[in-house]
C-alpha cells in the first residue's frame, strides 16, 4: 500500500457566524469555490489533476444541500471531470474527508484528492437539516438524547471538571490564538476572502476576544442550565443514563465553548506519484486514521477511545505524539482528553482553538490538521495527532508525521 502525503493545507479566516459577521454576505458555494481555487492555484493543478473533491459539511440543507461538493467544483476553476462528494460526520467532517481521501488513494482509487469542508453557520443554522435522533421518539428515548451542551456538562460532572478549569482553558485558548496571529504563525495557511471585484472582505479570524480574562468569563451565565434543570429538563434524561450522578454541573457557557463561525478549509492529499507528477514536495505523511462510535448521551467523549484505538492500531504510545489538536468544542472535551492521557497542556492546541477562533463544523477537522502541520514545521517537531468529538457519540482521529 502506498504512503499518502499532505502537500498543502489552507483555510479561510473564520468570520463571526452572525448577521453582522464579515462572511455573512458570502455564500457557502462561493466560499467553497474560493478555497478550491486557492489550493489549485497554489499548487499549479490544471485539468483533471485530482481524482475527486471530498467536502465535509454538517448541515446539508438549502445552499449547503444538493451535494454542495459538486456545485463547488462546478463554480470553481477546477475541471468538470472532477466530480465532488459531500460527506457528513458532523464536526469531524473535514477530518473525515481527509481520512477518506487517504483511504481511497491507498485503495488505488486515484493519486490525488482535495479534501476539506465548509460551514456557513450564520447562514445555514445548525440543526436546520433536522435530526431523527433528536425528535423521533423511537430513537431519542432509546438513546437518551440530550443536546451537546448538556452532554459537555455531563462530561464535566462525570470527570470532576470544574467551571474554573474550563474558564482557565478558555482564557488560554484566547491567549494562544492572539499570540499565534501576532507572530504570524497562520500566515502560510490563511487565505484572504475577496469579493467579486477583488476587494478583501476578511483576512483575519473575527471571533477572537484576546482581552478575555477569568473575571469576564466568570460573569457569564451557564448556557445549558435552563434547558437542563427547567424546561424541558434534559438533566433528567442525562441522569437516567448516568444514575450514579445526583445532578449535572452546568459549567459551560458562551465563553468556554466553541464559537459559531463561517469558514472553509482544504488540503491537498496524494501519493508519491502525484507529487512527482505535479512537482510538489510532501509536507507530511498521513500515518493513521481511526473512527469510533461511543455512548450517544455523553456524546462528546469520542477523542479518548478513538485516540486509544489509533495508537493501538499504529503501534504507538501517547508519548510518541509531539503535538495534539483536540477540537475545543467545549472546554470539558479537551480537559477530559488531557486528564485521560496525562498529556501536558503545552502539547495541546498550542495556537489556540475553536473557543477563541470558532468552529465552522464541516471545516474544522481540515483546519485542525493544517494548524497541526504548520506548528510541527514551525517548532521542528515530527508527529502530531488531530482528533474531534462528534455529535450522536462518535470520534475521529488522524496521525501525521513530517517527512
Amino acid at each position: 500500500m502506498s504512503d499518502v502525503y499532505i502537500f498543502d493545507a489552507l483555510r479561510t479566516p473564520r468570520g463571526r457566524g452572525r448577521k453582522d459577521g464579515a462572511l455573512h454576505e458570502v455564500t457557502a458555494l462561493r466560499l467553497s469555490a474560493l478555497t478550491l481555487n486557492a489550493i489549485a492555484a497554489r499548487n499549479g493543478l490544471d485539468g483533471h489533476a485530482v481524482e475527486d473533491v471530498i467536502w465535509g459539511n454538517a448541515t446539508q440543507v438549502g445552499e449547503q444541500g444538493g451535494c454542495l461538493a459538486r456545485s463547488a467544483v462546478l463554480a470553481s476553476e477546477l475541471d468538470e471531470r472532477i466530480p465532488g462528494l459531500s460527506i457528513n460526520r458532523f464536526c469531524a467532517s473535514g477530518l473525515e474527508a481527509v481520512n477518506l481521501a487517504a483511504s481511497q488513494i491507498r485503495g488505488g482509487a486515484g493519486h490525488g484528492y482535495i479534501a476539506g469542508g465548509v460551514e456557513m453557520m450564520g447562514r445555514v443554522a445548525m440543526g436546520s437539516d433536522g435530526a431523527a435522533i433528536a425528535v423521533d421518539p423511537s430513537l431519542a428515548m432509546q438513546s437518551y438524547f440530550v443536546p451537546q451542551g448538556i452532554a459537555a456538562d455531563i462530561i464535566a460532572t462525570e470527570y470532576g471538571i470544574t467551571r474554573d478549569d474550563a474558564d482557565a482553558l478558555a482564557m488560554e485558548s484566547q491567549r494562544r490564538a492572539a499570540r499565534a496571529w501576532d507572530e504570524g504563525r497562520f500566515a502560510r495557511s490563511v487565505i484572504p476572502v475577496p469579493d467579486i471585484n477583488g476587494l478583501t472582505i476578511l483576512d483575519r479570524d473575527e471571533h477572537m476576544r484576546p482581552e478575555t480574562d477569568l473575571q469576564s468569563l466568570g460573569a457569564l451565565t451557564p448556557a445549558f442550565r435552563e434547558m437542563g434543570e427547567a424546561m424541558p429538563g434534559f438533566d433528567q434524561v442525562a441522569l437516567m443514563k448516568y444514575p450514579h450522578l445526583e445532578r449535572i454541573a452546568h459549567i459551560h457557557h458562551a465563553g468556554n465553548s466553541s464559537g459559531i463561525v463561517d469558514g472553509a478549509a482544504a488540503l491537498l492529499i496524494g501519493d508519491k506519484a502525484f507529487g512527482e507528477a505535479h512537482g510538489l514536495t510532501p509536507r507530511a505523511r498521513i500515518r493513521a486514521s481511526a473512527r469510533i462510535g461511543t455512548d450517544p448521551t455523553i456524546m462528546l467523549t469520542g477523542p479518548v477511545p478513538v485516540t486509544e484505538r489509533i495508537l493501538r492500531e499504529s503501534g504507538m504510545e501517547i508519548g510518541d505524539i509531539d503535538l495534539f489538536e483536540v477540537n475545543e468544542a467545549f472546554s470539558a472535551v479537551v480537559l477530559r482528553f488531557m486528564q485521560a492521557f496525562g498529556v501536558e497542556e503545552s502539547r495541546v492546541n498550542v495556537n489556540g482553538g475553536a473557543i477563541a477562533m470558532g468552529h465552522p463544523l464541516g471545516a474544522t477537522g481540515a483546519i485542525l490538521l493544517g494548524t497541526l502541520l504548520d506548528e510541527l514545521e514551525r517548532s521542528g517537531k515530527s508527529t502530531g495527532l488531530a482528533t474531534l468529538c462528534v455529535a450522536s457519540g462518535m470520534g475521529v482521529a488522524t496521525i501525521i508525521e513530517r517527512v
Binding site: A134, V135, M141, P232, Q236, V237, H244, E246
Partner: protein, 730 residues
C-alpha cells in the same frame, strides 16, 4: 335490543341515540360498533335524511368509554393477536372516518352534516366518536367530564383520538389531554378546543346546526389543501423544538418505563409527517404494540379492571346496604380532620370529636381552608363551602356521637389512649353502630378488646393526606364480623376511594411492604452504595420516590420508633441491625427527616429539598466498585414483592388483585408493572425464584424464596393463573 337507535324527524334530521341497556353510562362494544356503522350507512344512503345528530339516551352523560372486552375479543379474533388487534382497530378507524367524510367526494362536496350532542360526560371513545363528527355540542353541566383518560391505565387513545386531537390542537396543545389524560368540565373543554359549543339543550342546538351547516363546515382542516399542523410539524423550526422537548419531558416524567407514553409519542411524531389516513394506520400499529405489551396488560388489569371490581364490592360480604348516615370521628388531628373532609364531601353528616371543642374546631378548620383553596381555583363556590362545613359538627363532648352508625377512632397511636377513647365512645353509641380504628401500626385484634362487640370492631386505615390518597386498607381483626366489613366497604364506596380488605398482622399489608423498601435503601447506604445511585435506581424502576427521600418524608424519627418497637417485639430474630446502624446515627445527629429540615437530604430555609446531604458520603464513603443498576433495582423491588407474597402465604392478603391495587394506590409500587404479583408474573416465577436465591446468597436471607413462590416456580405457575381466575369468577 341494539345500543343504537335511529329516528328521523320531519325536518329530515336523523337522531342516532346511544343507550346501552342495563348500564348507567354507555360503553362501546363490538356489536355497538357494528350497529352504529349500519345506522350511519342507512342515514347516509337515505336521500330523505339531510343530516345526523349522534346523542345519548343517558341523562348527564354521552359515554364512559370502550368496553375493554372489545380489545380482548379483537386479540383473539384470529391466529395472530397482532393481526386481530390491528384489523379490529382499523375497522373502528374506517367507521369514524366514514362519519367524518359523511359521504362527501374528494373535493368535499355532497356530504351530510353530522353533529354530536353530548348530554354530559364523554370519555375515551365517548370523545373520540364526537371528534370524528363535524361539530360537538355539550350540555352546560360543570359536573360533566370530557377527556381521554386512556394513558392512566397504560393505553393511549387508539380510536383516532390521538391523531385528531394532535391535528386540532397541535402537539403542545394536545399534550395534557393525551399524555396526562387530563379531564375537564365542558367550559374548559371548549376553551381548550376539545368541543365546539356549550348549550342548555345540545340536541336541539345540534339539530339546528345540522339544518344550517354549509358544505364547507363539514370539511375538517386536515382534509383541506395546505393544512399545517398547529405549532408546526416535527421538522419545522418551531415544531422541532416542541418534539425535542416533548421526548425529554416524557422521559423525565415517566423514566421510560411506560410503553404507552412512548408509543403515543411515536404515533404522534410519525403521524405528523404523513397525510391523515396514513397517520390513522400508524396510530393503529402503535396502539396494537401497546396492547401486546405485558406492562400495559398488567396496568389495565390492575388499574382498571381490578380497581373497579374492588370499588364495586368484589370482596364485600353478602349483607344489606349499610351506607353511613352519620359518622363519628375521634381525634381531630391530621388524619381525623382529613377523614372529616372526605366524608363531608360525600354528603355524610360528621361529628368531629377531640378533647376540647377548640381542638375539634381546629380540625374542622382544615376543611374550611381546603374549600378556600378550591374557591380560589374556581373549583368550588362559597355555597359549597358553607354546605360542607354545615355537615361537620366539631365538639369536645362524646354525647354528640349519639346517632352515629360508624365511628372512626383516629387518636394518638398509643394503645392506652386508644382504649380510653374507644370505651368512652362505645358507651354512647347504638348497638348496631360499627367502630373502626385508623391505626397504622397497632394490631387491630388487640385494640378491639376495648370494645364490647369485637365482631363490630374493624380497622379502616387511611393514608396521608387523606383527601389525596385513593386507597383505604380495611383490616379484619380476629373476631371482626361480616357486617362490619360490609359497613367499612360501603363507607369507602361513599367517599369514592378504593378499598382492600386484609387480615390483622403486623403492619397489615401496605406498611408491611413499604418499610422493607425503605430499609433496603438505608442498608445500601451503609454498604457504600452511592446514595444518588440508590435513589435514581428506584426512580428508574418506576418508584415515585427513592427510599431515602421516602423516609425523609415519612420521618426518620418515626422510622427509629418503628425499628425500636419491632426490635423489642422480635428479639433475637430481628434482622435489621445494619439498617438501624445508619438510621439511628442519622437520628442522633438530629437529621430526623423533612419536617426537621435535615435528613438524608438537605433542605433550604423554605423546606425545599436541596440535594442529598453532603455529609452522607463522608459518613458512608461510596465503594469504588458500585453495583450494577439492575441489582439495586431488583433488591428494591424484590424486597417489596416478597413481602407481598409472604402476606399472601400468611393469609393476610386474600386476593392478589387487592395486593396489586393496594401496592400501586397505597405506596406507588412501580405502576407500570401492575403491582408486585403482576411483576412477578412478568418475570416468570421460575426466574423470580432464581433471583431470590441469588439475592439471598449475596445479601441475606430476607430475600429467601417463599415456599409458595418456590412451589409455583417448580410448576411453572403464575400468580394470576393460580389465584386470579377463581377470584374473578367469584
Amino acid at each position: 335490543m341494539s345500543d343504537f337507535t335511529l329516528q328521523t324527524g320531519a325536518d329530515g334530521v336523523a337522531v342516532i341515540s346511544w343507550d346501552t341497556p342495563g348500564k348507567s353510562m354507555n360503553i362501546m362494544s363490538l356489536q355497538g360498533l357494528l350497529d352504529l356503522g349500519a345506522l350511519i350507512d342507512t342515514a347516509l344512503a337515505d336521500s330523505d335524511i339531510r343530516g345526523i345528530v349522534i346523542t345519548s339516551g343517558k341523562p348527564g352523560s354521552f359515554a364512559g368509554g370502550m368496553d375493554l372486552n372489545v380489545l380482548a375479543e379483537m386479540r383473539s379474533a384470529g391466529n395472530d393477536p397482532a393481526q386481530g388487534l390491528f384489523d379490529g382497530v382499523m375497522r373502528i378507524h374506517t367507521l369514524l372516518r366514514k362519519i367524518e367524510r359523511a359521504g362527501m367526494d374528494a373535493q368535499g362536496k355532497g356530504g351530510k352534516p353530522i353533529a354530536a350532542a353530548l348530554p354530559g360526560t364523554a370519555l375515551g371513545i365517548g370523545l373520540e366518536l364526537p371528534l370524528s363528527c363535524h361539530r360537538i355540542f355539550v350540555a352546560d353541566d360543570p359536573r360533566a367530564r370530557i377527556g381521554l383518560p386512556e394513558i392512566k391505565v397504560g393505553l393511549f387513545p387508539g380510536a383516532g383520538g390521538t391523531t385528531r386531537l394532535i391535528r386540532k390542537l397541535g402537539a403542545m396543545g394536545a399534550a395534557p389531554y393525551l399524555l396526562e389524560g387530563k379531564l375537564c368540565a365542558p367550559k374548559q373543554a371548549k376553551a381548550a378546543g376539545l368541543v365546539d359549543e356549550i348549550c342548555a339543550d345540545p340536541l336541539a342546538a345540534a339539530r339546528s346546526w345540522v339544518l344550517e351547516a354549509s358544505e364547507a363546515d363539514l370539511v375538517k382542516p386536515w382534509d383541506r389543501r395546505g393544512y399545517k399542523l398547529p405549532g408546526g410539524a416535527p421538522y419545522s423550526a418551531q415544531g422541532f423544538m416542541t418534539f425535542l422537548g416533548a421526548n425529554a419531558m416524557v422521559m423525565g416524567k415517566t423514566k421510560g418505563v411506560y410503553p404507552a407514553a412512548k408509543a403515543l409519542l411515536s404515533a404522534v411524531y410519525e403521524g405528523a409527517l404523513v397525510p391523515f389516513d396514513t397517520a390513522l394506520k400508524i396510530e393503529a400499529r402503535w396502539f396494537t404494540s401497546v396492547m401486546l405489551n405485558p406492562s400495559s396488560g398488567a396496568m389495565i388489569r390492575t388499574l382498571f379492571q381490578s380497581k373497579q371490581a374492588l370499588e364495586k364490592g368484589a370482596n364485600r360480604p353478602d349483607a344489606p346496604d349499610s351506607a353511613v348516615q352519620k359518622l363519628g370521628i375521634l381525634g381531630a388531628g391530621m388524619m381525623g380532620a382529613g377523614i372529616a373532609l372526605v366524608a363531608a364531601q360525600a354528603g355524610i353528616e360528621v361529628v368531629l370529636l377531640d378533647r376540647s371543642a377548640e381542638a375539634a374546631e381546629k380540625g374542622k378548620s382544615y376543611s374550611a381552608s381546603y374549600m378556600d383553596k378550591g374557591i380560589a381555583r374556581g373549583k368550588a363556590t362559597a355555597e359549597d363551602k358553607a354546605a360542607l362545613l354545615g355537615r361537620i359538627t366539631a365538639s369536645g363532648d362524646y354525647a354528640e356521637l349519639r346517632g352515629c352508625d360508624l365511628v372512626i377512632e383516629a387518636v394518638f397511636e398509643d394503645p392506652e389512649t386508644k382504649a380510653t377513647a374507644t370505651r368512652e365512645a362505645g358507651a354512647r353509641i347504638a348497638q348496631e353502630a360499627v367502630f373502626a380504628t385508623n391505626t397504622s401500626t397497632l394490631p387491630v385484634s388487640d385494640l378491639a378488646r376495648a370494645f364490647d362487640r369485637p365482631q363490630d370492631y374493624i380497622g379502616i386505615h387511611f393514608f396521608s393526606p387523606v383527601e389525596k390518597m385513593a386507597l383505604v386498607e380495611i383490616i379484619k381483626g380476629r373476631e371482626t364480623g361480616p357486617r362490619a366489613v360490609a359497613k367499612a366497604l360501603d363507607f369507602v364506596r361513599q367517599i369514592r376511594k378504593t378499598p382492600i380488605v386484609v387480615n390483622d398482622a403486623r403492619f397489615f399489608y401496605a406498611n408491611r411492604c413499604i418499610i422493607p423498601y425503605i430499609n433496603e435503601g438505608i442498608r445500601m447506604v451503609g454498604e457504600g452504595v452511592a446514595p444518588a445511585l440508590i435513589e435514581n435506581a428506584a426512580k428508574l424502576v418506576g418508584m415515585p420516590l427513592g427510599p431515602l427521600q421516602l423516609v425523609d418524608e415519612t420521618s426518620i424519627e418515626l422510622g427509629v420508633k418503628i425499628a425500636r418497637a419491632t426490635r423489642a417485639a422480635m428479639g433475637e430474630a430481628y434482622p435489621d441491625g445494619a439498617v438501624d446502624a445508619v438510621l439511628f446515627e442519622m437520628a442522633d445527629e438530629g437529621r430526623l427527616g423533612r419536617k426537621a429540615g435535615a435528613g438524608f437530604y438537605a433542605y433550604d430555609d423554605k423546606g425545599k429539598r436541596a440535594g442529598l446531604w453532603d455529609g452522607l458520603t463522608a459518613q458512608y464513603p461510596p465503594e469504588a466498585e458500585q453495583p450494577e443498576l439492575l441489582d439495586i433495582q431488583h433488591r428494591l423491588l424484590f424486597i417489596q414483592a416478597l413481602e407481598a407474597v409472604r402476606a399472601l402465604e400468611a393469609g393476610v392478603l386474600e386476593d392478589i388483585r387487592e395486593g396489586d391495587v393496594g401496592a400501586i394506590l397505597g405506596w406507588g409500587f412501580a405502576p407500570w408493572s401492575g403491582g408486585p404479583f403482576s411483576w412477578l408474573d412478568m418475570l416468570g416465577t421460575p426466574y423470580a425464584a432464581e433471583r431470590c436465591d441469588a439475592l439471598s446468597d449475596m445479601h441475606g436471607t430476607r430475600f429467601a424464596c417463599p415456599a409458595l413462590l418456590r412451589e409455583m416456580a417448580a410448576r411453572g405457575e403464575s400468580f394470576y393463573g393460580r389465584f386470579g381466575a377463581a377470584r374473578n369468577a367469584a
